[in-house]
């Protein structure tokens, strides 16, 4: 369980770096809420509690919701916040409907699904850790392999395109990495609060570092530590969901970093 928490914390924290720098924190929120129908759908299609199926479903519906927001913004001239809110609201509503459908079915399998709302790290099985490790390796692997490309696409996409970098492809890749960052933590932290675990470690890391690479790994470390602390604390208190505890720890870390961080914290400017 601890291994799972560390894996998801490091992955979402590190990959969240790009989301925050690209000002896509809210996209992460949309993907997380809209993951709910995918989780339930994956369960329904697999016929049993299968983490790979549920995470795959989460990935799909999360990306669809983000895609819906994109279509609304680019084809229908809807303002971006409103488009994001639409994806979030409709995605979650669909998830609620599907969840209630499953809950009416006979069989106790749905108990596992409800835990995706606020997260339940203790419910992680040993086999799940392998799945999470696989997702982490893919996500972090792609990010480190293409780090330079992702860096230019994030910092100055217009210039990068003129220079000959494949920015459209990199954009799609970055969106995919965000989806991975969100999905990997859903079981432990839940759909409602997962986006905070993508944002808070990166915000904290920005206050403490001077380069993108340093920010990336620091965010990962802080995310992993927060997730671990949260998982252990919530396991110690029966009936306590993991999500809120993890998010509070991560937010506290971010708050501390904002107050004291040398890079741009108040202490430096005093």
């Amino acid at each position: 369980m601890a291994a799972g928490a560390v894996l998801l914390g490091v992955t979402s924290g590190a990959l969240g770096t790009f989301a925050v720098l690209r000002r896509q924190s809210l996209v992460g929120d949309v993907m997380a809420h809209a993951a709910l129908p995918g989780v339930v759908g994956g369960y329904l299609l697999a016929g049993e509690r299968s983490l790979p199926a549920m995470l795959a479903g989460a990935l799909v519906t999360g990306l669809v919701a983000a895609g819906l927001a994109w279509v609304l913004t680019h084809r229908l001239k809807v303002k971006s916040e409103a488009a994001l809110g639409t994806g979030l609201g409709l995605g979650f509503a669909l998830g609620v409907v599907l969840l209630s459908y499953v809950q009416r079915q006979p069989g106790a399998g749905s108990a596992g699904l409800e835990s995706f709302l606020y997260g339940q790290a203790a419910a992680t099985l040993r086999a799940d850790v392998l799945v999470l490790a696989g997702v982490a390796v893919v996500g972090l692997g792609v990010a480190t392999l293409l780090f330079g490309e992702l860096k230019v696409a994030t910092f100055d996409p217009v210039w990068a395109r003129a220079r000959g970098h494949r920015v459209a492809l990199l954009d799609a890749g970055l969106t995919g990495l965000l989806a991975v960052a969100v999905v990997i933590g859903l079981q432990a932290v839940g759909v409602v609060l997962m986006s905070a675990l993508v944002v808070a470690p990166a915000v904290a890391a920005r206050q403490l570092t001077r380069s993108l690479g340093a920010m990336f790994w620091t965010a990962g470390a802080l995310g992993g530590a927060s997730a671990l602390a949260g998982a252990l604390l919530s396991a110690a208190t029966p009936g306590l969901a993991t999500g809120p505890v993890v998010v509070l720890v991560a937010s506290a870390v971010a708050g501390l970093a904002l107050l004291l961080g040398p890079e741009r914290g108040r202490a430096a400017e005093a």
Binding site: G89, L98, V203, S251
Partner: protein
């Protein structure tokens, strides 16, 4: 009258309509101002207020709760603006940092200290619209369900405020030149709007929970904005669309045996699809 108020279908549907209409009303203004996600932040933030008020006063409902929760919703936005204003965090990250933290704190307190009380983490997230007919208050010799009564009051308040101040609130939003100057609009009218959004979110909590409130606030307004060119037009269409979704949602949900609130919220996609299709057809014609 009393038989109507005792009819579950009527009460649940009416609650849904009132929730959807009130949410769409304030949501319309926020969407036109380019502040749609404020609804997300506020509705999550009120949970912190509910938890804090409960800790301090032990109250679970009533005017004190209403006040505390509304204040928390406003506080969420104020904190977010302050953080973004510090220059160290961009607006989207500030939003994504503040309201989840407050929401998490609220949920934590509720699950630790309010275990046996009516408000719990599940209700807060999803609402319990199917049970709103249970809690009643005596009014003018009748037994009136509390939730829709509160919602009716909030709806009237919202309508009066928005119709009185809508010009000031959305000044420039329909003018393409000035539309760029969106964003922070300090001023009493904006603060009043924020308070009302929080109040509406609190009132809607019992019925549909925090996230579905966002759906009712945003989706009908987006649909309305695609077809209407004036603030009054947007409000009218949004409220109508939201109400229709609520009315259609109840029988559909009952027949499929799924979440009533969820179905009502999901049905707001229908007017959105229709408005989008109309808009796309018009622009290619």
């Amino acid at each position: 009258m009393q038989p109507l108020l005792d009819d579950v279908a009527f009460v649940v549907t009416a609650t849904g309509v009132l929730t959807a209409a009130a949410a769409a009303l304030v949501g319309s203004v926020l969407v036109v101002r380019g502040q749609a996600m404020l609804t997300d932040a506020v509705s999550h933030g009120v949970v912190f207020g509910i938890a804090a008020t409960f800790l301090v006063t032990g109250a679970v409902s009533g005017p004190v709760q209403l006040l505390g929760a509304t204040a928390a919703g406003v506080l969420t936005v104020v904190l977010t603006q302050a953080l973004a204003g510090s220059g160290r965090v961009r607006r989207d990250a500030a939003t994504g940092l503040v309201f989840p933290a407050l929401f998490a704190a609220g949920v934590l307190v509720l699950s630790l200290f309010a275990r046996d009380v009516h408000v719990d983490t599940h209700t807060v997230l999803l609402g319990e619209i199917g049970f709103v007919w249970l809690e009643r208050v005596p009014l003018l010799g009748l037994e009136v369900p509390r939730a829709p009564l509160v919602l009716l009051g909030v709806l009237v308040l919202d309508a009066l405020y928005v119709l009185a101040f809508h010009e000031r609130l959305v000044a420039g939003s329909f003018d393409p030149v000035h539309a760029r100057l969106q964003g922070l609009r300090p001023g009493a009218a904006s603060l009043g709007l924020l308070v009302l959004v929080a109040l509406t979110a609190v009132a809607a909590l019992d019925a549909v929970g925090v996230v579905l409130f966002v759906a009712f606030a945003i989706v009908p307004a987006v649909a309305a904005r695609l077809v209407a060119g004036s603030m009054v037009g947007v409000i009218a269409v949004a409220v109508a669309a939201a109400s229709a979704a609520a009315v259609a949602g109840y029988p559909l949900a009952v027949s499929l045996d799924v979440s009533i609130g969820g179905t009502m919220a999901l049905l707001t996609a229908v007017p959105l699809a229709a408005a989008s299709a109309w808009r796309l057809a018009r622009s290619s014609a």
